[in-house]
Amino acid sequence: MIQTFAFYLFAILVIASGTLTILARNPVHSVLWLIVSFFNAAGLMVLVGAEFIAMLLVIVYVGAVAVLFLFVVMMLNIDFAELRAGFMKNFPLGIAIALVLLAELILGIGAYRAGALKLGTPDGTAAPMVGQSNIENIGALLYSEYLFLFETAGLILLVAMLGAIVLTHRERATAHRGHQNISKQVRRRPEDATVNTSPEVGKGVSL
């Protein structure tokens, strides 16, 4: 009873916030609706008993990815008139993408009607291990059965990260004005920077 209620609550909220993500005029509102949608999707994951995936969804997507989205979008200087002006120019492209998505949807539903794809069977190799938590199950599978795929994914991410660093890194001369030499700053003592003088009254100090 309460599960059904929770499912429909989360599902409706996911769909509603997903719709509002694309309908919102303001990009910042869009990102915030996207976050609501992620969050409710995590709720759905909890309902199917995948609490580990749910937590990862919140940590990775809501906690990190969406913050970076928001970070970038917040800095945009939004000109609503320009946004509307670009509508007609991008209209054909938008229609084309919508058609592709519609075709995929129809194909997907058609394929589902024709009989579901044979994934892991309950007694096959992908069977859940009884008496173990989610995390242990995923860990055991990831580091035995799918070790090479897992390592490959890690390698691809590493290459992507290196690529991003190489693309954005600029070599700066050390004499650059904004350069901070931390070890030099830490080594600096009060004696190096200050002098203790006792000038006569009315004489002042020459610097």
Binding site: I2, V28, H29, L32, I35, E51, F52, M55, L56, V58, I59, V62, G63, A64, V67, L68, L70, F71, M74, M75, S133, N134, I135, Q180, I182
Partner: protein, 350 residues
């Protein structure tokens, strides 16, 4: 607690609902009281370190100062800047406050006294604490004003940076405990040091992790010396600049609830949570209820937080980023390898 309500003649569902609601109230209401008192304690500690008296007018020793302040902001007018994004401007403090309360659901106050004893307790805390940044960022953006906006930018970058190393530190603890469950982590610390002292902090490999976790939790809650999001000498009051009345008070309460949560995490992950410090059953401390030990440890860490606030000068922003990315991240990553290698050789040696 469900059994108690069932014994009153309620059905299981109704008993569960009553037990959960009373559990939430049992955590949230004392927490709000604790936040009010801890603000007073913070001001007192800070004052005595600066050789001042601190609040001493309202009530005996000024004990009721926070309640007087609360009443004052409650009676003030909520001012919404005309250029602000009204909806988000009002939602932001609510988000901060709610998120600060949410994480307390998995904090164990005793062997049985935990609202949600879930398998992924620590991940839940990490997930919820990563949401804390939204209140600040949304507030800064919705204020439509320069200083709050700078503050929001700083907060977004700062909190993400330190969450990364906090994640690796927590992995070390989880590897040693062998579970993500909060009570499981506490149980794993029983007699950890030579069978006498409880707590991962007495482990040579985990002690550096605790030091880093303490510093990272200062940065994660944006407390001094990492309070760059509200650096008053540069940003007026940061993201709170445009806020007044109750919306300001919600930020204030949420911030201190977060600080208490981080203190509780320090106590639970490294100092044995509700376990007494010594695992010796003929000492009187062994029979003191667990929640008293936990509260004592939380208070001890809060004192450290106040102490740091009163004594350490604020970091520069580039120093903050350098500490997070160039020192804490490689070090914590190195310790993940070290800890898992050590456990592989000893505990899981085939």
């Amino acid at each position: 607690m469900t059994e108690f309500f069932q014994s009153l003649g309620l059905s299981y569902e109704a008993a569960w609902a009553f037990a959960t609601i009373s559990g939430i109230l049992l955590i949230a209401l004392p927490l709000m009281l604790a936040v009010a008192m801890i603000i007073y304690v913070d001001r007192k500690i800070w004052a005595s370190m600066a050789l001042r008296r601190g609040p001493n007018v309202v009530g005996p020793f000024g004990l009721l100062q926070s309640f007087a302040d609360g009443l004052k902001v409650f009676l003030q007018e909520t001012i919404i800047p005309s250029a602000a994004n009204k909806g988000l401007f009002l939602i932001a403090p609510i988000v901060t406050f709610t998120v600060a309360l949410l994480a307390w659901a998995v904090i164990p106050f005793g062997p049985e006294a935990v609202l949600a004893n879930i398998n992924v307790g620590l991940l839940y805390v990490l997930a919820i604490s990563s949401l804390g940044v939204y209140g600040v960022v949304v507030a800064g953006w919705a204020s439509n004003s320069k200083y709050p906006f700078f503050s929001a930018m700083r907060a977004a970058a700062q909190m993400i940076s330190y969450e990364v190393s906090i994640g690796f530190i927590l992995i070390c603890v989880v590897l040693w405990a062998g579970t993500f469950n909060m009570n499981g982590i506490i149980e794993a610390q029983r007699g950890h040091g030579l069978g006498i002292v409880n707590g991962f902090v007495f482990n040579i490999l985990l002690f550096p992790m605790w030091v880093m976790f303490l510093i990272s939790s200062l940065a994660e809650t944006a407390r001094a010396p990492f309070d760059l999001t509200e650096a008053e000498s540069e940003l007026v009051a940061g993201y709170q600049t445009e806020y007044s009345s109750m919306s300001f008070a919600l930020f204030w309460l949420g911030e201190y609830a977060n600080v208490l949560l981080m203190c509780a995490l320090n106590a639970i992950l490294f100092f044995g949570g509700w376990l007494p410090p010594l695992n010796v059953d003929w000492l009187p401390g062994y029979y003191v209820p667990g929640w008293i030990w936990l509260f004592g440890k939380i208070f001890f860490f809060f004192f450290i937080f106040s102490w740091v606030k009163a004594t350490v000068p604020r970091y520069r922003y580039d120093q903050l980023m350098r500490l997070g990315w160039k020192i804490f991240l490689p070090l914590s990553l190195f310790f993940v390898v070290l800890v898992s290698g050590y456990l592989m050789l000893t505990r899981y040696a085939a």
